[in-house]
């Protein structure tokens, strides 16, 4: 094999390997991992157009005897909202730093970091970890919502993916809070797959 063909072939081979590895890794995510939510929860509120707000949810505790490493967090379905950022923060033993909703993003005096590489400690050891999404409902949309949080993570050497059945609905002031009318549970009951509606 000539030096020239090596020079061309090796990078191509490496690139193919990287692509194949990435595809394998993406395809290898299992859905039967240990991270689960025992509840389907929804949060609904009304704020003025273009107001930046934070939506926070404390993640389920790690039930395994090994650490869980978060690879990524993203909305499973989003409609009528802009996501300005996704961060995580540590929550104290009595919920210090836990914010279900707040004006601005990140919330005032809450120290945050990117979710990638965050650790959920083994056996539910503290601190708890909260995911915070910064969102804005533009003037053009009277109602915006997020249905489900997709979390990719690693536990026990394997890669997993889960969609936590948590939803956010933000209305224009004066809009009725119609609890449950369009939450994730009813969507799942109807057999829908939120990931198909990824906007």
């Amino acid at each position: 094999m000539s030096r020239r063909s090596l020079a061309v072939g090796l990078p191509l081979l490496a690139l193919a390997g990287i692509v194949a590895g990435a595809l394998t890794a993406a395809g290898a995510r299992r859905s039967d991992g240990p991270l689960r939510s025992s509840s389907t929860n929804s949060v609904e509120f009304a704020v003025a157009d273009d107001t930046v707000v934070s939506w926070g949810m404390v993640l389920p505790r790690n039930p395994t005897m090994g650490d869980i490493r978060i690879d990524s967090i993203e909305p499973a379905t989003i409609d009528g909202l802009e996501v300005l950022g996704i961060r995580v923060n540590q929550v104290g033993p009595n919920g210090e730093g836990s914010v279900t909703n707040a004006l601005g993003f990140p919330p005032f005096q809450v120290g945050t970091r990117p979710p990638d590489g965050s650790i959920l400690r083994a056996a539910g050891e503290p601190p708890d970890l909260q995911v915070l999404l910064g969102v804005r409902r533009p003037r053009a949309s009277s109602v915006g919502w997020i249905g489900g949080l997709r979390i990719r993570y690693e536990a026990g050497g394997a890669g997993y993916e889960v969609v936590l059945p948590w939803s956010l609905r933000i209305l224009r002031p004066g809009g009725a809070l119609l609890t449950g009318s369009r939450n994730l549970s009813s969507h799942l009951q109807a057999g829908g797959d939120p990931s198909r509606r990824q906007g």
Binding site: S38, T40, N41, V43, V58, P60, S98, T100, N101
Partner: protein, 401 residues
Amino acid sequence: MTTSVRRFPAAALVAFLAISVAPLTMNAADTSAPSTWLPGLRASEAVSGPDLIGGRLVDRVGRGVPGRLLVLAWPTSEVLSGAHVGGNVKTIPVAKATAGRDGHFTLRVDPRAPIGEFMERDGTVNFTLVGQFGTARDRGTSFAFPRRFERHSQAESRWVDPGWSPMSGPPGRLEVTLSTVRAFEAPRRGLSPQVPSPDDFGCPNFVRATYDQVVTVVGETYPGPNATVKFTYQKSSESTLGVGASATGSYGSFSASGTSSRTSTAMVDYPGKGVKSKFIYESTYQYKKFEVWVPWDFGCMPFDYEARPTAYQGAVLGYNACCAPVADTCSVVAFPSTLTKDSASAITFSNGVKLTGPIGIDLSAKTGFTTTTKAAYTFIRPGRLCGEGVAWPDAYRVVGK
């Protein structure tokens, strides 16, 4: 025992003779395939398929005890609620197994058992596990439990908790420790010449009493000073309610012995509750007291009495609680919002079924917050929603502050 023997002295003599010869038969059965014990039902050791229940038969100090295990399937709610006092309903044996010296056992349903006739529409079946032990297998103990049959794929099926959903994680195997401490002696009242073969028909269970409108706790809410709350209990809400067992069936002789699953059949829309309210939500179920007969080697035998739920009756009741639970893992709610929580495995109210009047004890009640049962907390001003030991998204009990 003495009361029954006095009442049926001839039958008791027959029973005594039956027990006296039974050990010979049993010992032979222990060393080979049981031949006299429900020969029409295949032992779980020889059956493939999903595990229904496993566990261990133990004595009063926790040592394994050898014995035999039998699972009976109860008829559907429709059949049970339609049975009148003096009438009877049939249970059928669907699984049997033998526990060795260590007491361990695993039970699987014999595929030939006609269990489909005993299934509710959602696949739930209410069972009673009977353990028989002693030198002549002349003593018994029981445990009531519900399981839902779920076909996971074309080739795979499993038994799960009736309230289980894929969102609640992998379904676990039901494991019980069946103690010989709470054991009945059997047979207590002798044989009945009219009893059909248990292999063909199952055994009769006689309705001895009906208790209507038994009040049962279905939920609780504590919205705190900044929120109101709306609790809804709707069709297809699954409740796991206590079953009481007794050797004599008399008032005060019952003890808790497992659970049974009942599905509500109507929507119960509870009135909304205001700020600072602390409310326990109740509804009503029908219970019946059954004289339970089980298949023994020599036919159906009276075994014990069970008080079990037979129908949902749907009254809208409740009362103010004295105080909210301690919930100090709080999350800030910064502006008016509605936080809705459903699909949780709700807590078990240990005395949630009010049966002290009819049978002498209250039984447990566990209502799952299914997708159609929910508590919606509407914060009218900033506040906090706190969970008991864990933040509200994953907490079983929450309190507004």
